[in-house]
Amino acid sequence: MWAYIARRSIQALFTLLIITVLCFILTRLSADPLAQYATNPNMSAADKAALRERLGLNQPMPVQYLKWLGLALQGDLGNSFFSKQPVAEMISQRLPNTLKLMFTYEIITIIISLFLGILSAVRQYSMLDNVITTFSFIGFSMPIFFIALGAMLIFAVKFKEWGFPYLPTGADIWDPKDPIEYIKHMILPVSCLVIIGTAGYARFIRTSVLEVLGQDYVRTARAKGLSNRVVLYKHALRNAALPLVTIIGLDIPGLLGGALVTESVYAWPGMGRLFWEYAQRGDFPVVLGILLITSSAVVVFTIITDVVYTFVDPRIRLT
């Protein structure tokens, strides 16, 4: 077990190294970080060269990379070119907003899809199952911005027009410190995310419940005369929930990155929007910082998920 964790961790370090090189090349070369000064009449060419020198942008790429990596390992992700703030500080300001949004979404999604998935598995091929399956197929095929824009059109724009109580779009200025305002602004983005998320999860739960229900030990339990309820909740569900552990474990790091499109549409001050805003400006320290944090989280959580899995499913031995 410990040998396994140690080996996986060494592999993970190697993977992380590749990630940093890859991200550095892509972000550093994708845009000129000083592009924002290109049209500034107060900056002469000499000023720009001096600035480039001061920021270390004129050094060879490998040197820049090693310097960035050295600082990043000490927790210093550099400063944003645009806002001049330290990247770590910017991220820590945005992270709580994203986590609140994403964890609310994840919890609601899991509850609803457990309910729907079990229901449609137990009543396989019934009318209800067909309806749920159809909806999950449609939800699965839907880009999130379709729902995000549609919900905004109906519940924010049209409801306001019709004189109904309407939800805020995010385009208006609001105070994130006011808890009621905060929740009001959360309703639409969370609902959109839940609709899309439920489609995938419910389908997944249905499949894994069906798989377990067809197994011999479930038949044995039924043959013993146990009620359907006991068979389902005491015997089947425990095993059906196992694959869910993997899926949730692999989804959690993704929550950190936020929901880029949804956050942008609803102007939610989270990580996804931060990434998008600064990616557009070519502000590479910010973009790199976010990439580093989210992908490290993915790498770490993959190992954690594998280890946790051995606790919930003792049949699996890590070697």
Binding site: Q11, F14, T15, L16, I18, I19, L22, C23, L26, T27, L29, S30, A31, F137, I138, F140, S141, M142, P143, F145, F146, L149, G150, M152, L153, V157, K158, E161, T169, A171, G254, G257, L260, V261, S264, V265, F275, W276, A279, G282, V287, I290, L291, T294, S295, V298, V299, T302
Partner: protein, 318 residues
């Protein structure tokens, strides 16, 4: 019992006994044709292709890019069946030509990603050792970066300078080619893993040792034996990958990093819809979204049918 019916019974029996067993391909085809939803998906996708092909013959791409500021933001009417956008371009015509672009981007980027995925996965499994280690770490690194972030960063990286390309007398924004590369380069990883796993088990099979001992070269074994035998997995995952590619095109174009206007794509039509939806221009949002959803839905249904058909464990409907 009349002798006639007896004769026909014998004839049936004969054909049943004598008929050669179905080949694996025939079995797959039979399983697929029994999958009702997949057939509906095929019908839907066929209609969609018909709409785009016939449409692009009837409606020129000039019409799709024609600006008419007098008629801007007009709701659907007899002249403009799906209304017009913020510069008065006809949405119906743009749906046709945008669909063309979206599907071309989808198909080509799947071909790109399947080729990369099959080669990376196949090479990693076949050679093993440090080749495998390096390639799989790289695959894992790519998989660990959130996919939308990767799309954006790569899109920014490749989309620095965009030229216009001319194909068959039609000029397209060079961004189309970039989008294909961006989507292809960010979606080969799952397939690489599937192919690797398949080849790992195939490598140990007797017929591979046999052809090796007969002196077949690595390249021959790779393309003649290993790849054809993982074809099922490749077909299924590329069908589902096509749905993903079209969806990804919509995402990057929606974010303004994909296909650049005036060349239409379903994704970039929605970009402009975003700013006008607050003013109630629902048609700018409904039609492109609807077409994207229907396309993805049909392809996903086909993919689901193919998966059941190729998977020998799913014996239902046989």
């Amino acid at each position: 019992m009349s002798s006639e019916s007896l004769a026909s019974d014998i004839a049936i029996l004969k054909t049943e006994i004598i008929a050669p067993p179905l080949t694996p391909q025939q079995l797959i085809l039979r399983r697929f044709s029994k999958h009702r939803l997949a057939i509906w998906g095929m019908v839907g996708f066929g209609l969609l292709l018909l709409f785009i092909i016939v449409g692009s013959i009837l409606v020129t791409d000039k019409k799709a890019n024609e600006v008419d500021l007098m008629a801007r933001l007009s709701p659907p009417n007899q002249l403009h069946w799906m209304g017009t956008d913020s510069t008065g371009r006809d949405i119906f015509a743009r749906m046709i030509h945008g669909g063309q672009i979206s599907l071309i981007v989808g198909f080509l980027s799947v071909i790109f990603s399947v080729s990369v995925g099959a080669v990376v996965g196949g090479v990693a499994a076949y050679y093993g050792g440090w080749v495998d280690t390096v390639l799989m770490r790289f695959t894992e690194a790519m998989l660990s970066i959130p996919s939308l972030f990767l799309l954006i960063v790569l899109g920014k990286y490749l989309g620095k300078d965009v030229q216009t390309i001319t194909v068959f007398g039609h000029s397209y924004s060079g961004s189309v080619a970039i989008v294909i590369v961006v989507i292809g380069a960010t979606s080969w990883m799952y397939l690489a893993r599937i192919v690797r796993a398949n080849v790992l088990s195939l490598r140990e099979m007797d017929y591979i040792s046999a052809s090796k001992s007969l002196g077949a070269s690595d390249v021959r074994i790779f393309f003649r034996h290993l790849i054809p035998n993982t074809m099922g997995a490749i077909i299924v995952s590329s069908t589902l990958g096509l749905a993903g590619a079209i969806l990804n095109e919509a995402y990057v174009s929606f974010l303004g990093l994909g296909v650049q206007p005036p060349t239409a794509s379903w994704g970039n039509m929605l970009t402009s819809a975003q700013s006008f939806i607050q003013r109630g221009a629902w048609w700018m949002w409904v039609f492109p979204s609807l077409f994207i959803i229907i396309t993805i839905l049909c392809i996903n249904l086909i993919g689901d049918g193919l998966r059941d058909a190729f998977d020998p464990r799913s014996t239902r409907n046989l």
